[in-house]
Subunit: 201 residues, 2 copies
Amino acid sequence: MGRTSDARERIVRAAARLFLTRSYHTVGVDELCDAAGVRKGSFYHYFPSKADVAKAVIDLHAEAFWMRLEDDHQATPSERLHAAADAIGAIQMDFESHFGRAVGCPFGNLAAELATTDDDLRRHVAAVLAELERRLAVVCREACEQRLLRPGVDPDRLARALVAQYQGMILLAKVSAASASDLPPALHQLITAHLNDPVHA
Amino acid sequence: MGRTSDARERIVRAAARLFLTRSYHTVGVDELCDAAGVRKGSFYHYFPSKADVAKAVIDLHAEAFWMRLEDDHQATPSERLHAAADAIGAIQMDFESHFGRAVGCPFGNLAAELATTDDDLRRHVAAVLAELERRLAVVCREACEQRLLRPGVDPDRLARALVAQYQGMILLAKVSAASASDLPPALHQLITAHLNDPVHA
């Protein structure tokens, strides 16, 4: 069995992979230990329960997510929204090339599977999606202040619509076993439809 | 134990309720039998496996869904799209008042949980969402022919965006333990943003 020093990280990475390609409930602690190459005692040393691993998995994905979504404050609000759409699309493309198929969003998958049965995990994943919505809302409000939004468009509603579109498009790709390559164009279209300036290069 | 004659229906209804308020994998056959008041032999008489119950649950929800989405071909394409948005919202409101919380979409929940692990079930639920998209695309194309769509808006993409927005908004309500009452306004906003006529009563 591997070195103890990186056992925690190996458990989290194995869980991230298995939860994403299967689901939370179909993966047991024994299988997580096998996949991570750690003993059960070591597992429980780091994680009191499988739910605690799931929280660490959410944190791992969130950290990577925020790095990819690094915002360029010098760009225009329109450019920043379109850049976020591309970044979100690129993350999904990476998953697809890694796993050979659309596996869904790690946040959305856990949300759908666990939100009604584990309130603690629900809050943990909800916080990530709420943070994404908050960041997008900042940009949408700047777009509103610069009169870039179509009349009647509420910037906070637009931010939420973008998060919903991102989640929905990924779910549709997953259920139809298709690529999520439609995701960036769908987000660009949604942004364009709400902006006064209909041109997006 | 109840009459055999309605045992199949009681099993499907119990499964629909339990899968929706919890998840597919957290509900076992024993619990389904208890909730439906049927013996295990009776269960396996009707359903070779839990996956077969899930298919019947999808069919049950789909049947109710198509009844609610009855299309009025006399109405304008714009009115028909907005009516579909209201119907989809009303279904979620019914779930919420029945279960006391947002439980997600029965199709989206099973899609997220099972799409990568059960290809047969994946196809079964994908067919329902594809049929919804197909029906909306018919109306979007009529809107396009009547020059009601904004320049550059592809009717098929708009139909898919509506299905994605519906799935995403329901997932966000579920994960934030909030009401899905934002769903109809979000769909109306999406429709309005893509139509030339910005007025929706």
